[in-house]
Amino acid sequence: MKDDNKPITRKEFMKQLRRYEKGSISRRQFLGVTGLGMATTVMAAAVPSLMPRKAWAAPNIGDRVVLATWPNYHEQANFEAFTEATGAHVQVNVFGSNEEMLAKLQAGGSGWDVGEDLIEPLDLSKLPNYEASAFEPRFSDAGSVNGKLYAVPKNWGTTGFVVNNKHNKGARMTSWKDFWDRTKTDYSGRTMVHDYQLTTIGNALKYFGYSFNSVDPAELADAEKLLLEVKPHLFAINSDYQPPLRNGDAWMSMCWTGDGKQLNTDIPTMEYVLGVEGGEIWSDYYAVPRGAEHREAGYALINFLLDPAINAREVQAHGYPVADSRTNALLPKALLEDPILYPAQELLDALEFGAAATLTDPNRAELLARFKSA
């Protein structure tokens, strides 16, 4: 359909990806920050992580594993296959946001233990399906510290918005300016924004052409003004946007790659748009929290999900691109050329990685809280 956005080859694309260094969680930060700061960084990048819990009788790996992750992010059948193969059930815990997960992990542990890492270096002997050379270094590098691997890449994606074109009266949207302006006019009462400071504030900043990662008080003040103006026109502030979009209550929402793909597949009038001004590109990782009593099931699950055939099924379910060349070799060509998963280069050029400093910035957190309670 959108043949003007000529898909680029994977190799070219990955080469391009390396250029998006600006504002990303750099390895240096990763190395330099210890304790909580580091934990924050890691957790920010390392969602979903694995939290194996106590096994009952202890034959091999126990009978359960807890996976902290996002909604609509996995193929249910894979979990069932895992349970069948290993006897361990997979519990998917969904948190509202990175911040909530962090707060819960910290509070659930023993307080503000600065100096203790939240995740452990991975024992690669338990992950035979991990093949370092198959992974795009751009993503796997961010998961290692001092040559030790702490997190393996799950998939990456972008944050744009999804819009139901059934209601657009022939005027397509291409930018964050459209998103916010039309929310105030013909999409009034039908738009959703994330309950998540990084993207909601970041994409409001894009309206003015500021950096997605800005922590500049004056720029944040502009974003806040816009958000407050728009608030009466919003349908909801909620990151679980699929149900209302599907049942027709909402017409437009900030949206991640995979949700955009899922919605577009089921409802063709749903279009996934990356704002021309830019926005977010990100990557998620698998990690094992330190001190997990029985880690075996966690490793087993990560290893299982790293199996290229399994991972390919995951991709077809969640619709996010992965950085594993073995998996990509198994995916249908149509998917690898899908403009939602692999957007046009000029759109990608404008995207930024969410910086650790942005994620943990107290002013941005407070801004979102003010916006919600306004």
């Binding site: 969904v94 023993s110 307080g111 503000w112 679980d240 149900p243 599907r246």
Partner: protein, 278 residues
């Protein structure tokens, strides 16, 4: 007649969501919002899902221990308080009043930050004082115990109020008579006091159990990495409800209903005329 229609409308209002929950629990489809035909597969899924069952076990354990502690300590306190006068009594009453008045969310928050802060001091101290031959020092953290402690605090206050009201309406002459007949205090308690206050204690126990079993907001803050049934339901709701959640709701409802009917039948069988209270 008009009143009866009004009552019917209100009952419809009360049962409309219940009807929807039960209906969707038999939905064959995956998305809770569209009905794709009748199926009981979600019941099987719940029953074979160790996490739902685990959450249920946690909830039942927490609720039972909470109710037990609250009714025992609450009753003890209500009995002891009879002899308390003056400043201590005023302080105690104020504490109970505050415990009942404070919103659950504030109890949750206060318990969270107080315990996390206290653990921050206690854990290093504990680790330092721990004898090496015992292995690693245990680490205090939020979990089942903190949750039970928080629930018990609130429900104990409820039990005290309920039991105290009963004691106030109790026939004191019997106790005096018992004492006059040289019964031991323990004997008097067992033979005279307890039977009189028992309905209140039982009511307090049931109320505490129900509160603890259904509480979400305190547990949300205080339960650490433990998952109670309401927390399980809440996190499932956020990832898009499957009919599994409706099946859980329906089963909890069915179990409570059968317990209620069983209790009714038993009461009827005993056929005891209800005590007429003035």
């Amino acid at each position: 007649m008009g009143m009866r229609i009004y009552a019917i409308v209100i009952y419809l209002f009360l049962y409309l969501p219940i009807g929807i929950i039960v209906l969707f629990s038999f939905n064959a489809g995956r998305h809770a919002s569209d009905f794709h035909g009748f199926s009981v597969k979600w019941y099987g899924k719940v029953l074979s899902n160790p996490f739902a069952m685990d959450a249920l076990t946690t909830s039942l354990t927490v609720a039972f221990v909470t109710a037990l502690l609250a009714s025992v300590f609450g009753t003890m306190a209500a009995l002891g308080l009879q002899q308390f006068k003056g400043r201590l009594r005023v302080l105690f009453d104020a504490a109970i009043y505050i415990a009942i008045m404070i919103p659950g969310i504030v109890i949750g928050i206060a318990t969270l930050i107080a315990l996390v802060t206290a653990f921050g001091y206690l854990n290093p101290a504990l680790a330092a004082a721990w004898p090496e031959w015992l292995g690693d020092a245990p680490r205090l953290k939020m979990g089942r115990v903190s949750l039970i402690a928080a629930h018990t605090m609130f429900t104990m206050a409820l039990v005290i109020v309920i039991v105290r009201a009963r004691i106030a309406g109790m026939d004191r002459t019997l106790i005096e008579a018992s004492a006059d007949l040289y019964a031991t205090p323990m004997g008097t308690f067992r033979q005279v006091t307890l039977p009189q206050i028992f309905p209140a204690v039982l009511a307090g126990f049931l109320l505490s159990f129900t509160f603890s079993f259904d509480d979400f907001i305190i547990a949300f803050f205080v339960a650490g990495s433990e998952t109670t049934l309401p927390i399980y339901v809440f996190s499932s709701i956020r990832r898009g409800v499957t009919p599994e959640i409706n099946a859980i709701g329906t089963m909890v409802l069915a179990v409570s209903l059968s317990l209620l009917i069983a209790a009714q039948v038993m009461l009827r069988r005993r056929d005891r005329p209800a005590p007429t209270e003035s």
